[in-house]
């Protein structure tokens, strides 16, 4: 006899399990972990280079960097003063929890203030793969056009901070910052929107402040209560 079995079960993927284990490790170590997502060429690596140059004397930072091929990005980040492990994903369009767990083996997490995970340049798949991070940052840039938020809503909806890079090119590209922030607001996002240029340095102070604030928030949460 036919019977319907009602389940209503949320699907837990293998990556969800790995991400939960990573989140636990990150919390125990007490560092801030930031997952950076963007389309290729928006400026994730440039942002990490600038962050290394300006913060490396004050905070202990390291990175892992996902790309299909080459270690070019990792070398740039290392040259700027931040340790970085390259992950080559082959044809993989996103980083997963297993790759991150392997890559961070070289780091003593308890000795770090911030770990950056630079995801593969792609605004679709990385959004669906939690890596146990505390904060997600979506980097967009003016040459990409001002309607990226509404075209890639899943990635933008998951962001804790939106960085708009290459603001120095705003006139050359005809980009409308007002339209961009309108699209972000239409997504119901109440997160910082930081306009900056990794090339000229404009606006980078607000990014570094945001990082310091998030680092404090995670550190305070991780520290034992003073009783």
């Amino acid at each position: 006899m036919a019977e319907r079995i009602r389940l209503e079960k949320k699907i837990v993927t293998e990556n969800d399990r790995l991400a939960a284990a990573l989140a636990e490790r990150f919390d125990e170590a007490g560092l801030l972990v930031v997952n950076l997502m963007s389309s290729p060429g928006a400026g994730k690596t440039s942002l990490l280079e600038q962050t290394a140059r300006r913060l490396a004397d004050h905070l202990r930072m390291a990175a892992v960097d996902g790309d299909l091929a080459t270690d070019r990005d990792a070398r740039r980040i290392i040259d700027a003063g931040m340790p970085c492990r390259q992950i080559n994903t082959g044809r993989g369009c996103h980083l997963n929890g297993r790759q991150v767990a392997e890559a961070i083996e070289v780091y003593d997490l308890a000795d770090l203030d911030i770990l950056f995970i630079e995801n593969v340049g792609n605004l679709v798949c990385p959004a669906s793969f939690d890596l146990g991070e505390h904060r997600r940052v979506v980097v967009s840039s003016t040459p990409e056009g001002d309607d990226k938020p509404v075209k890639y809503p899943v990635a933008f909806r998951s962001a804790d901070c939106v960085v708009l890079n290459k603001i120095d090119l705003v006139e050359a590209t005809g980009f409308s910052p007002a339209s961009f922030s309108g699209f972000v607001r239409d997504l119901g996002l109440d997160v910082p929107l930081l306009q900056l240029s990794c090339k000229t340095g404009q606006g980078l102070g607000a990014w570094l402040d945001w990082l310091r604030t998030q680092r404090e928030a995670v550190r305070c949460r991780a520290a034992p209560s003073p009783e």
Binding site: R6, K10, V154, D186, L187, D190
Partner: protein
């Protein structure tokens, strides 16, 4: 094509459930894909179909239903459907909104005989 990985996760859940009903035959699988879940319904249905074909119930039918997003405004309490990726509250214009439906990938039900 990470829908293949998602399909495997769905299928693991189906297989675990069928172990509890080992005397029955699986005839239908109903899956719900939220519009903001990040999964693509057609690719998921295709990938699940491949797994079903290799299973001990190769004739079971797979149904993947797209679930629209429903939001609640934390400012005025209005519940409303998302339209064209505009998530802000249509009543008060508030941006402090929470999706209450349409973000999950769920195994809704199985049919057995």
């Amino acid at each position: 094509m990470h829908e293949i990985a998602l399909a495997r996760a769905v299928w693991r859940q189906v297989a675990a459930e069928m172990e509890k009903h080992s005397d029955r035959r699986l005839t239908q699988v109903h899956v719900v894909v939220g519009e903001l879940s990040g999964a693509e319904p057609e690719s998921l249905e295709f990938a699940l179909g491949l797994l079903v074909a290799e299973s001990e119930w190769p004739h079971a039918a797979v149904h993947v239903r797209k679930e629209p997003v429903v939001l609640v405004c934390r400012t005025c309490g209005r519940e409303y459907p998302m339209q064209e990726m505009r998530l802000r509250c249509p009543a008060c214009g508030g941006a402090d909104v929470e999706p209450v439906r349409g973000t999950q990938l769920r195994l809704e039900s199985l049919e057995v005989e």
